[in-house]
Amino acid sequence: MKRTLVDKIWDSHVVVSKSGFPDALYINTHFIHEVTSPQAFDGLRKRGIPVFRPRKTRATADHNVPTIDQHLPIKEALSRHQVEMLTKNTAEFGVELYGLGHPYQGIVHVIGPELGITLPGMTIVCGDSHTSTHGAFGAMAFGIGTSEVEQVLATQCILQYRPKRMKIEINGQLKKGVVSKDIILYIISKISASGATGYFVEYCGEAIRSLSMEARMTICNMSIEMGARGGLIAPDETTFAYIKGREFAPKGADWEKALAYWKTLYSDADAQFDKTLRFDAADIEPMITYGTNPGMGMGITQHIPALEQVEDKERPSFKKSLDYMALEPGSALLGRPVDYVFIGSCTNSRIEDLRMVADFVKGKRKADNVVVWIVPGSKQVEAQAKKEGIDKVFEAAGFQLREPGCSACLGMNEDKVPAGMYCISTSNRNFEGRQGPNARTFLASPLTAAAAAITGKVADVRELV
């Protein structure tokens, strides 16, 4: 039978399939962090059971951590407590921790791939919805809740129903100044924040194939923002070249064996998808969001929909959203001043993102009215940026290169955008209050964010390169 990639991975991970029950699915890799794991460890203690396969779980501290002076104790008591609990829990249960100060520490979805832990054909879960990032390697990766974290710790399995499969094909080639973040913001703006609920998405087509691994991760990362369970891309030579030689990647004979297997990981020609969507890369311009969910996005030169263009029953939510953003229906964003620029998060904080920004800002200086935060995704990204002199470029431009963590993506640490201020952000969510109470977020690509840093307003990067 012809099978999709999702089916191939699913079938090879089913431990038990009983009618009337969800499938018990084996999990190859489990990532945990300080925010969604303490209650799961507590659950194990209450049941008096150990972690079943401690070596298949890896931990890092990312959500809460400060992004300056990481060598000092965390000032905020609750955050410190959560990070300490992670240290205590991982030590007690024998789980490897890349905590603060460790050279591998970083945002959970950045470190998995860069360490060669994330591999094609795996099932990967984490108590974090952007686990879909790892799908860029042809893995089935998805976010879970804390009860499920406990299930995986206890049994290395999770109960799941087979998702529906959606294929999203992006044909053609991207235009200058348009990058992978624009592709995914474009797709979400077309199909809405719930357009892929219940589906696992496979991205394919010429435009996807020509992307680097970093760029593919950005796309898979935001699958959840259209409601998808996860998103993946079949592995190819780009994938294999990225993995080869990384810390935990298979080596020698294991590598050859793994490679032979990975080459079988694609959707068979004529495999049935429950839904197929096609887009043309040439139609995509740099994107920006104007509202309070990632589906409320548009091309940078376009206007926010006027009230009449919004369906009757959606108007109250639309108005509420624009009220929060203090924006007028029908208005343009181009030229609007911004106060903060945040370049970071598991969507866009990899070395390639930093290089892209550095290339663009080299020899330029930030506008006086903006604060620019650059938060690398990991210690390794930070070290690499320094090695390449990217830190100097940022310094000359007046940008702050901070230390790794989730930072202003969700404002759990001190990095909050003040109330009422506008932030152009490379992260993945523009929800009310996401970057701080009453903060207003425009989601965009690293290039568009860099353009805003230099001009102090929403700008079309195509006119600046």
Partner: protein, 199 residues
Amino acid sequence: MKKNFQHLISTAVPLPIENIDTDQIIPARFLKATTREGFGENLFRDWRYDADNQPKADFVLNDSRYKGEILVAGKNFGCGSSREHAAWAIADYGFKVVVSSFFADIFKNNALNNFILPIQVSDDFLQQVFSAIEADANAQLEVDLEAQFIKIVATGAQENFDINPYKKACLINGYDDIDYLLSLRQEIEKYEAGREFNF
């Protein structure tokens, strides 16, 4: 944890807003607790309280006319982050049922794992529920899990809802996924032994 659920008649709290994401249900800055208790206080925190921690009079949870164990919300409820804290906050506040015309996947799972019943109804029925509550803040809803229906008591309008049989049994009997998975221990070990690529 209060386990199991079968039948409920209650007034409801209406929240006719679409795409309510988990950052609204429980903002990230309240995720720092290491236990499951006490999240109810911060349910819908930024809609419920102003910057000085004073209750906002126009938010429905601060409106004494509305109460009950059922929350009724607009389409695509619970989108966004996977934080189970959202479900804990809803349960801790005292809701047992959430009604909407569409739920985000992870939220639905998290809710069920915490013995909250998410009931997906048609757009039309959802409107009827909102209208009934608008007409009378004390309008009651009846939910029957065994028979899988929800009813507006005043008008008698009712609709059947779907729930997968496994989750239904879990809710009715008060057992959870880990109990089931732990019973599969032997099968899991057998699977591991038979796998060629056990990364």
